[in-house]
């Protein structure tokens, strides 16, 4: 099922020195992937940086998959310097994705993405649309430069509402505030989200308050990505007990109600 392979960078797009999109030739992984799953990407053959980096599958077509990432440190910076034609080693598809269409009543979905957290939501939105589910994307960032893939959603005719903390584009404030404003007039049957921990915590509260089930994709430092190191755990409720569960294997997507925030 899992595959570790060298994939050619077939396309590269960048927004300044902050956001990057790579298209990778990886037909087998592409075929198997589901929205919410991720890859472990090897940055270099040298021992620095040591670990692979996890990135969500941002989009796929028959042969290629895409990753969309933000330059936030040594690994992403080195990755961003790769060029079209370079090869990178990727392992995937990893983890469990978002649950789609399992509840027949889920005909209306709100997708909330904070910053680079919007990455997996594009793949998800496309799949939901295919299943005739009504999708609204809430996409928030610090400023207008942090919303580089807003146009991609719009191009697919997906209703996309943006927010920025500095008000430079769309609603001024947090994306969760934008969502709450919307909830006054319109209630989705399901929330899907990915983004910073603070945002996900707020969404857990909103989900509870409004009684809308929410699926949240968590981030965690990962040693392996495939369940071997036990490094990536978060406290998750299963039945009556709360235990450390692996984000890479049991997640990265969890039901908001099952996550024990500290």
């Amino acid at each position: 099922m899992l595959k570790n392979q060298r994939a050619v960078i077939a396309g590269k797009k960048s927004w300044g020195n902050d956001y990057f999109l790579f298209s990778l030739e990886a037909p087998v992984i592409s075929r198997k992937s589901k929205p919410g799953q991720f890859l472990m990407v090897k940055i270099t053959d040298n021992p620095y940086p040591l670990l692979r980096r996890p990135f969500s599958i941002h989009a796929r077509n028959k042969h290629n998959i895409e990753i969309f990432f933000q330059n936030t440190g040594v690994g992403t910076s080195m990755l961003s310097q790769k060029q079209r034609g370079d090869k990178i080693e990727i392992l995937g598809p990893l983890g469990n994705g978002f649950h789609i269409g399992e509840r027949s009543e889920s005909k209306k979905a709100s997708l909330i993405g904070g910053g680079r957290g919007a990455a997996p939501l594009y793949f998800l939105a496309c799949e939901l649309v295919k299943k005739n589910i009504n999708v609204t994307v809430f996409y928030g960032g610090k400023s207008s430069e942090d919303l580089p893939i807003a146009s991609k959603f719009k191009k697919e005719n997906i209703r996309t509402l943006c927010s920025t903390e500095d008000g430079s584009s769309g609603f001024k404030g947090l994306v969760t505030d934008l969502l709450e404003t919307e909830l006054k007039t319109d209630t989705p049957s399901l929330i899907y989200a990915c983004g910073p921990e603070g945002m996900l915590k707020s969404l857990s509260k909103i989900s509870k308050k409004h009684q809308i089930p929410a699926e949240l994709s968590l981030e965690s430092i990962m040693g392996c990505g495939f369940g071997a190191c036990w490094g990536c755990v978060k406290k998750i409720k299963k039945g009556n007990t709360a235990e450390w569960h692996k984000v890479c294997e049991d997640g990265p997507v969890f039901s908001a109600g099952d996550i024990i925030w500290d």
Binding site: P49, L50, L51, W230, G231, W244
Partner: protein, 305 residues
């Protein structure tokens, strides 16, 4: 043909590459990537008598060419292990080594006794060197007498061969290796992780949930190699070298320093097929250098200037 098999006396390995405890899960996690039968063997994740919750996250932090962890031996305990995991490993044609942890000497002995009937188990590895369990980071492997006592007790409790895994957090590694040998250990393996820590200057908080953690990976290799050399010079029993091994040449370096076999740890995370690649690289090295029997290299460091 190159013969890269290894005879530890109590255990024959088809090649010198063993996957290290805590970096190879229960083995099963790696079957999507490699044929488990092709490696020399593997050591399962540290096993306590009872299930363990492990430490709070963050459990990992990356350092320069290294990895700090404070997993805290989260695990299912020996009973569930023997019922749920062992049956899945039936028919395995590599060495299966069980890493044993305990809060007391008796706990080590009880696990050794409990699992002793399982013939599929090739050896125990006594993890007397895990720095994560107590917050102060002290462990029996830091004291020669404690080491001797544990080994002695476990040896009395079982017939399965015993490898004692040593901690690098000591002044004199030879002394501890000798204690393990005197206690009756069939081999020693070293090194476990180096006690380490990190602080995030932004938050002033420790980088690991458990404050201290163990450092592994290429960063520690030069220190680990020195300790393996010292231990191999001190004891008669076989030494298994561990610490930052990520290539065939790394493995060869440990073997020349005196190791009979090696364990590969952190490299399993960065490349799940590291063990197989390292085996291939060892074979290729021996072919190139016209070395017929890998074991002839063990301890063959050339001290002429």
């Amino acid at each position: 043909m190159v013969d890269i098999s290894v005879d530890l006396g109590f255990l024959k390995l088809k090649n010198p590459v063993i996957a290290a405890s805590g970096t190879f899960g229960y083995g099963i996690e790696f079957s999507p990537f490699i044929d488990l039968n092709q490696i020399g063997g593997f050591v399962v994740k540290g096993l306590y008598l009872s299930p363990k919750q492990g430490n709070p996250p963050p459990r990992l932090a990356e350092t320069a060419c290294g990895l700090m962890n404070s997993i805290g031996l989260q695990g299912i305990g020996v009973e569930r292990f023997s019922k749920e995991v062992l049956p899945q490993l039936k028919g395995l044609r590599s060495a299966l080594i069980i890493n044993i942890c305990g809060d007391t000497n008796e706990e080590y002995a009880r696990i050794a006794e409990y699992l002793d009937k399982h013939e599929e188990i090739s050896a125990y590895e006594l993890n007397i060197s895990c720095p994560n369990v107590k917050k102060e980071g002290l462990c029996p492997a830091q004291d020669p007498d404690d080491t001797y006592e544990i080994v002695k007790l476990v040896k009395k409790s079982c017939s399965t061969p015993v490898i004692t895994k040593l901690s690098p957090n000591v002044t004199d590694i030879s002394e501890i290796a000798l204690s393990a040998e005197e206690g009756g250990s069939d081999a020693v393996s070293l090194v476990n992780t180096f006690l380490a820590m990190g602080i995030d200057p932004e938050t002033r908080k420790p980088r690991l949930g458990n404050f201290f953690g163990g450092l592994s990976g290429p960063a520690i290799k030069p220190i680990a190699l020195r300790m393996v050399y010292q231990a191999a010079s001190a004891v008669q029993i076989p030494v298994i070298g561990i610490g930052g091994i990520a290539s065939g040449r790394d493995a060869i370096e440990f073997i020349i320093a005196g190791a009979k076999a090696v364990q590969v740890g952190t490299a399993n995370f960065t490349d799940p097929d590291s063990t197989l690649r390292i085996i291939d690289e060892i074979t290729a090295f021996c072919k190139e250098k016209k070395i017929k029997r890998l074991q002839d290299l063990s301890g063959a460091v050339d001290l002429n200037p």
